[in-house]
Symmetry: C2
Subunit: 242 residues, 2 copies
Amino acid sequence: MSVETPEKSYPVTPRNRVKRLHERGAYDREAVHAVLDSALLCHVAYVIDGQPFCTPTMHWREGDWLYWHGSSASRMLRHLKAGTPVCLTVSHLDGLVLARSGFHHSANYRSVMCFGKARVVDDPEEKRKALKGVVERFYPGRTAQLRPDQPQEVKATMVIGMPIAEASVKLRAAQVGDDEEDFALPVWAGVIPVTTVIGKPETSPHVPSGVSIPEHLALYDEGRPLDDVLIEAQALYERHGG
Amino acid sequence: MSVETPEKSYPVTPRNRVKRLHERGAYDREAVHAVLDSALLCHVAYVIDGQPFCTPTMHWREGDWLYWHGSSASRMLRHLKAGTPVCLTVSHLDGLVLARSGFHHSANYRSVMCFGKARVVDDPEEKRKALKGVVERFYPGRTAQLRPDQPQEVKATMVIGMPIAEASVKLRAAQVGDDEEDFALPVWAGVIPVTTVIGKPETSPHVPSGVSIPEHLALYDEGRPLDDVLIEAQALYERHGG
């Protein structure tokens, strides 16, 4: 959270410059953070001996840092230890775009690619804070109700942190771009929106009877778009100081 | 589609072996194809000068081949021309898993990582078939209604094909795995499902009045899970010979 007078935008370099359809690109922090914060799932690309890997994982953000975690034994995390370059991408599918020509079929989406060098979070205090963050960022207020982490759990978990060196947002949020000469064709065209929504909570059979869904999960309201919930959760998390 | 007596499973090598929580892993074609076919969006990882990139794109499948496409000018596609190694990953988020400890918080998901070497589809007949496939696979029956692709559109589009050399599925589809000694804690735990659903179609303002949503889009029924629609579309596509 301790970004002193941050620049409004991330730097633009040959690596992150949006080359195709650059009118769809953005580099400002607000746009980058909005795409990152409205998702729980990201994809991390890294290289081992020339071979690219693309691993899905949960991410969370503290200022200009991205975090993800996993088992201390995982292949991805063992290799990221060394500070190898990483590209962390978050994408949302928002709609299917159907045109009168094959060529103009498309999709509405929001995506962000973040570049940086990842490092293991091994400072005990930073790691403790990060492991609190991964729960608290998604479920603000929850960690106070949980039993404390046990030392062997902290040891078995590896946390990776990456300062965002460069980032770029790319998105499409528009109606179909049919050619004018195709407008009169008697074929339906338009956008079919898709949304990821919250379902009905399924209580674990091991929860004592009488324990109901807590107030801190009220934002996970059935039918609500996940994006909205996650943006709200991040705002609450930041407001309460993480 | 022309896979002669395919093996039931993709080969397992050090590259695709699921190392962590291997009870969550699978390599059989049916499981791999099920995850691939229920998504429109994938992430492609590739390496340029040692730097990993993770690019979101649409993919589609023909037998053991994966295809994606884009502008002939795109950075990703220009570099994939050379036959560089690629990891194409598809992930679905199915639920948030909330436990009585930070450690057992998790997510329900289905993911597949596919490894192979990508190549440009430049044979005119294969490219024509692929460009039909990218529409027809998602909207079976639609290409017959569209105006034909124009030569400059085909030229401006690059299609990449990759035979799946190795693949592995990893998933979690379970209730929370709380420790037995935490069962009595008076804290709610369970799964909050998330689902990506079809919304209400938005007709382009340039569609002539009187043209309604065609029968071939009936499967994109409002409120239906996108996964189910895409699985059904792929089955229809395969049944009608692509």
